[in-house]
Symmetry: C2
Subunit: 440 residues, 2 copies
């Protein structure tokens, strides 16, 4: 059977979800799963829980754990890269550095360490498991997958679950998500619903009616969780501006004018200010650490049932179904991040897009989707693509002027000196030493 | 012989330059030139001076004047559109409106009236002189020519003289411009010197040496005229950032960080703050009005010699040489604004670029130029092209949301309300009534 390597397996919730889906997939019984992480304690917890889980549901899986990436990758058939180098701690330090220079909630300076790491994994795979599929789960998926498909010979596909936001729309509209079909192509975290059908009929008019008659009332008493941005005023505003509804994480983004400060974020995303405000994000980090604590508690007490904590119900994640399809030739349709190759009109072939794709044992093929509205292309997609290209250009050339230019194009930058000052401070962070050398 | 119609002929300096070049071009003797303007007084001055000029140099030209565009276009072989609708007065009112809302030196909201006017002239030509060439001289040349080549069947070519900035570089370097050849492709007012040869050898090293050893000293005692921005610190900074030297009006543009306020402009463009500062621009307007006064004085005094004011020496403008080439099949190379059709790699075919072009009696053909550096494409050309597309999209759809989005993308916009407020005020200006109806 197949060997699946999970890089960053110390994320117990990610790994356990995966193991649960795997245990529920009969055709993948007997697989080997190699948990790899650089954090020994987190790795141990995830591994222990996964083993106990498989034992409780009486599924035959060969589970391994290792802190050696090479060992985990060796002869793998599938590599899932789910790691965030340096973890959220470093990200928060970078964010604070940004705020010190006047950038509320920090800046994106190309995510050098993540891209470096993605490419290192792919390079290792070229040696250790050249025929394996790399399933890219860690962000940035858009930049990462475009980089990897251009720079490496490894087969790469990026997965996300943001497109299920379309079902949240159905829920709010009060229609049964089971009768909904949709398409939402674009770039990862920048996808737009071209088709929204309820029982086979165009259901966009239901959205329009909801906006017309119910949205204001809905928002009046709205108490969204931090991750609930799908039906926010921001999402509706983007729909009005660009003609298609933004799906999933797309609604978290949008123009700078939704994100200037907490008050603005609250206007567009409700009381918490959405996922990415100081309130929303700290709730997210709290939920992560609560989850980690729960995991640790269960791991330390062999008498507790893991299945009780994680009832054996399939998740909606696509990882295991996609692997099952690629291994067992069950033709299936997925939401995939793969090179465009003409699927979305007006996007170059070598840019990774998020589109429906057909997978089978032989290959993954993108579906040629409806053309996106010209307005969306001109005002959102091409500018977003340019920012991706700037990141890759900076990463590949090591030219600091590109970092500077990226930051000058940030709407919040008020002067050349401000941008230069931030870059220096950012590169002086101890954990950014490699990046500093790269741009030295 | 040919009939040349000049729309906006009341600009006496433009018209007289043209007449002078025409008188010095033997192969176009006997041509008819129709002066058209909506300002009767300015038209009369330009016409009077042109007639006297031709008489003084004893050249046989048929000069006509009219306030009817139809009459002027009828059976024309060449139409030169040099008009600024509403003149500089309206532009200044718009600028003040921008400044009232916090936009230093005003905003570009797509130049609706100019584009409307350009298209109206082309539509008239389709009826009155369908085989004529439209030589587009008035700004915005980039937006205007792209619009016209897409929306009209008329043959269109845009002309500018900004590329001669390359010779100013030679002058400052102390090399003889007569031995300099260069290429500077791009978009109008956004052209970049790919080739710079002195006596057939690459002369870029001379620029590098000048920057290394002389620039600082040069700028210390530098007292540039308002239009002298070619060797400014801004131009050198752009060269360092993007790898090619910006030519002509290109140096006036560049990132927002050169243009934040007068002090910043002075840092990058010298004591006057460059062409577009409040000082530089008022000097420009003063020089225009002084010139108009001079013209008026000469026009009113039949005893003065016009040739004394305008010695019969050929200008460097391309209008008459291009007409001569198209009429008399003298194959020649010009700097032209024409659809790309593959000339610059990475730019769509239907976007008008400024490139060297070969003209003869049968047609105008673009020269396939060197690819521009990736960095220049990603950070300058594609963003500039997007802004052009936004302008045309706004103009063609009449959708106010696009104006709003254009303004939100202006780096100076601080809030949604600020942008909305400016648009309302801008559309309330009496002379923008047509525009307001278009976006109503």
């Amino acid at each position: 059977m197949v060997k699946i390597s999970i890089i960053g397996a110390g994320s117990a919730s990610f790994s356990l979800n995966l193991i649960r889906d795997l245990c529920l997939t009969e055709s993948l019984r007997g697989s080997t799963v190699s948990f790899m992480d650089v954090n020994e304690e987190r790795l141990e917890v995830a591994y222990t829980l996964a083993r106990r889980y498989a034992a409780e549901v009486k599924v035959d899986l060969e589970l391994q754990k290792t802190m050696s990436r090479e060992e985990s990758l060796e002869d793998a058939d599938f590599v899932l890269n789910a790691a965030l180098v340096g973890g959220h701690g470093n990200e928060e330090v970078q964010r604070k550095t940004g705020e010190k220079h006047g950038y509320y909630r920090g800046v994106d300076l190309g995510r050098h360490r993540q891209l470096r790491f993605f490419l290192d994994v792919a390079r290792d795979m070229e040696n250790l498991c050249p025929d394996a599929w790399l399933i890219q789960c860690a962000n940035p998926v858009f930049e990462g997958c475009t980089l990897l498909t251009r720079e490496s010979k490894i087969k790469v596909v990026g997965l996300c679950h943001g497109h299920y936001g379309a079902l949240e729309i159905a829920r709010v509209l009060g229609i049964n998500p089971e009768h909904v079909t949709f398409q939402a192509p674009g770039f990862n975290h920048c996808i737009w619903m071209t088709d929204f059908l309820y029982k086979g009929e165009n259901a966009y008019p239901l959205i329009d009616e909801w906006i017309e008659t119910k949205a204001e009332g809905y928002w009046k008493t709205w108490k969204p969780e931090y991750h609930q941005t799908q039906m926010s005023p921001a999402a509706v505003d983007m729909y009005k501006m660009f003609g298609l509804f933004p799906i999933g994480d797309t609604a978290r983004g949008g123009g700078w004018w939704y994100h200037q400060d907490l008050r603005t974020k609250q206007r567009w995303y409700g009381p918490l200010g959405g996922f990415d405000s100081e309130i929303g994000w700290s709730r997210y980090l709290d939920s992560l650490s609560k989850h980690t604590d729960d995991m640790l508690r269960v791991a330390r007490d062999p008498s507790t049932s893991v299945t009780k904590q994680f009832p054996p119900v399939k998740s909606r994640e696509q990882h295991i179904p996609l692997i099952d399809t690629l291994v067992n030739d069950k033709e299936g349709i997925f939401q995939l991040n793969i090179p465009n190759n003409g699927a979305i009109k007006g996007i170059p072939d070598d840019v990774v897009v998020e589109i429906p794709g057909v997978a089978n044992r032989r290959r993954i093929q993108g579906v040629h989707v409806a053309a996106l509205p010209e307005r969306l292309m001109l005002h959102v997609m091409i500018p977003r693509m340019l920012r991706m290209e700037w990141s890759l250009e900076a990463f590949l050339t090591g030219d600091k002027r590109i970092l500077l230019h990226m930051l000058l194009e940030d709407h919040r930058t008020r002067s050349l000196e401000q941008a230069e000052g931030l870059i220096e401070d950012f590169l002086s962070l101890p954990f950014n030493r490699d990046m500093a050398e790269h741009y030295g």
